[in-house]
Subunit: 195 residues, 2 copies
């Protein structure tokens, strides 16, 4: 039995609706997307969108779900000893972004959030959870939030340049080379004395 | 005489049109914005928008112009000796983003680029020019593009978290504290041996 919900026709239809909403939110913005246009794009009856997701907010919530395995992947990285956790965290992030399916999900989350405050709030929460996991073992309570925030700046900038904007050398290097270049920064934000 | 163009009624009207386009591109996206709606928002006759900017592309070009002083501010930072240039570059960036007028321009450039490929291309060029200036003195030719790209990841992530998304501790700290925290990373990307 799958953990992702019902298979068969019903599960497939719901997946198709979410995929259509994802494309439309990312390309045209949340405000400019209607349940009707999502239904049309997904090739289903509008009533079915209401049936599965209740409202546009319900559809947004579905679109803002992180890709399968992201939470687990970050949690695994967070279990590494402090002196190698920076590298493990960079690798966990790159692994998700190098996979076309999860990259598409992550990309649409970021583009949707850029234009819709409710989605931005969801992205903030998601990001805090993920990054805070990495600083939650072996660091002083008083430093965790700042270290997490510094790590977030470097990871977000890496993702924006490499995957969203695709600009500069960082966009074309192999993932292992990117890890070698950026992991030391994450590691320093994790453990170096704060100024 | 101002270098920004004619003052008086004509200059003010053009400024008002660009400001209206800026808001609309950033909030609704470039595709969803019409010259007519920009004219209405700016409170001018649609013919005037055509007269000043020719086309939607002309208006986009105007919206994508970096704020006054950004180029000069970065060029000044780029003249600092290598051992203090990282800090100077971070300060030049923060100075532009801490100013509400130039921050609004930069913010709309980033949000417009997120949804419009032509604007993204313009942002890429702009960014390359600005960041390449910082690595252009005193560094080996072969390393410049990679160092510029690494610096860009950290600066973009800082800007996204602090100013666009306003998430985490980095969003609320005083600018001087942010400089102390992030400048060492830029400095390392500038001069530390590459892996």
């Amino acid at each position: 039995m799958s953990v992702r919900g019902p298979r068969g026709e019903r599960g497939e239809q719901a997946d198709r609706i979410v995929a259509a909403a994802r494309r439309s939110f990312a390309a045209s913005g949340y405000a400019a997307t209607s349940l009707r246009s999502v239904a049309q794009e997904a090739g289903v009856d509008p009533g079915l969108v209401h049936y599965y997701f209740r409202s546009k907010t319900g559809l947004l919530e579905a679109v803002m779900q992180p890709p399968e395995g992201f939470g687990a992947s970050v949690a695994e990285a967070a279990q590494h000893p402090l002196d190698e956790r920076g590298r493990a965290f960079v690798r966990a992030n790159l692994r998700m972004w190098e996979d076309p399916v999860s990259a598409e999900v992550l990309r649409s989350i970021i583009l949707t959030a850029a234009q819709e405050p409710a989605a931005m709030q969801r992205l903030r929460e998601l990001f805090s959870e993920l990054v805070l996991a990495v600083v939650s073992h072996g660091l002083p309570d008083a430093e965790r939030a700042l270290r997490a925030s510094l790590i977030a700046t470097q990871v977000v900038g890496l993702v924006m340049n490499r995957y969203i904007w695709q600009v500069g050398e960082i966009a074309t290097l192999p993932a292992d080379a990117v890890t070698d270049l950026v992991a030391p920064t994450i590691q320093r934000y994790l453990v170096d004395p704060l100024p």
